[in-house]
Amino acid sequence: MRHAFRLFWTGWIFNLKNLTLSGFFMLNAAILPIFYATIAYYMFRAGTRSGSLLYVSLGAGMMGIWSSVLFGSGGLIQWQRWQGTLEYVIGAPTRLIFVLLPMTIATASIGLYSLATTLAWGWLIFGLPLDLVHPVWFVIALPAAIFALGLLGLVLASTFVLLRNANSLSNLLEYPVWLVTGLLVALSLLPGWTRPISYVLAPTWGIRGMREAALGGDPAIPVAICLGLGLVYLVIGHFTLGYFEVRARRSATLALR
């Protein structure tokens, strides 16, 4: 157990530093969310609905977290393959899931830059008041969302690798998930058939928990659902990773691009 925690901590810190040095990730995580937030802010300001600036900033921050997870975790195994490190990751005596989990959680954690920059930008430029209704709950809701999105990243990492053009899937899935999880739009506005999709995606509950903690409401239920979904993703990721590993070993395609 202690070994697993040490492995997680070391892997998480290492990957966090590694991703922070990547210009692509920093653009996605720290700069683009400022654009999302500014566009959304001007749209709400010009519209008839008086949307809260904090509502918009949190949504834009979560958009950045999802982008980090989507591109970071979705291409994780493929990148290891390109860099020639996948054989070492799989060949290590530690179980594959213990090696990959800190990596996917790190891609979600990089999204903290998104939230920090959108809140700081809103505060500096637009006078966003950083008064949280339930600050303690916010401190719980934020890591819960990061954790659940990181675990969703594990599912993406282990399923995207089975697809030939996973990158294109990442490009495709950015906007629809922003839309269907209600990051800047009320879910009630979307067609009814999208509701089940919204409910099985962690960003829906992650943003709801954070918004209810920040703006008022009952964040306990969304936070609990978010964590519950994270555990479901962990189970799915465990099986899909196992499938990938066995398949790649059997067909000797581990290092093949």
């Binding site: 001007y42 030939r164 053009n165 294109s168 495709l172 950015e174 906007y175 506005l189 979307l190």
Partner: protein
Amino acid sequence: MNAVRIFFIGGYLAYRALFNWIHWSMYVPTMLGGPIFQILFFAYIGRFAGLQSDEFFVIGNAVAISSLGGIFGMAMTIGGERWTQTLSSILVTPANRLALFLGRALPNLVNGVIVSTVGFIFGWLLLDFSLTAAEIPVIALIVVVTSFSCTAFGTMIGAFGLRGRDIFFFANLMIFVFLLFCGVNIPIDTLPDWMQAVSKVLPLTHGIDAARQVADGASLGDVSGLVWTELGIGLFYAVLAYALLRLFEVEGRRRASLETI
């Protein structure tokens, strides 16, 4: 005659070679699927914020996505020549540089028009948006002009690819600058004055404005000023791009840095 051959055949072959990785399974989700969801995303924010009609967002985004081919395509074309180590081989030839680079831009311009057309079609299918038969050719013309100005801007960004390294970072950033400044999703008159001033010198702004006016019933004559301005902006960036390409070519030869990645 040789320049015409370089323009058409050279441009076509370069596109086939540099974008050989584009399979339909990559092209459809990336160049068509993503932009369609972009239109839906902003249209729904617009509905939620009570900002504008679906038409405003379909036109704004469908015209704006024509920039994807021009900006990314040209950054990848010039960056790609460098990456595949073919840049020196091209620049050592006595080929007409204008034909060489414009020929490489043409497929990206066409791609931008295709992406934009698909955006309009899906906007019509999925949202509350329609055009009359008379409006379609005028808007098609505006899309071609706007795609040209975006491709010219993309060529300018690509020119920096002869000198800088992380050109895709900048290209990606510019897409979001366009979304914020060019009135794609935000009415220009609600932006601060300095942003309105910036929007006037960027591609897209006048094209989107013209397309919206046509959808509201204006004729080509009514919006000809906007279309000419969009074309003028495109020509300005095309000239600037050509000058930068020549400058960085000479610099690259002098510093022996053409193939430094």
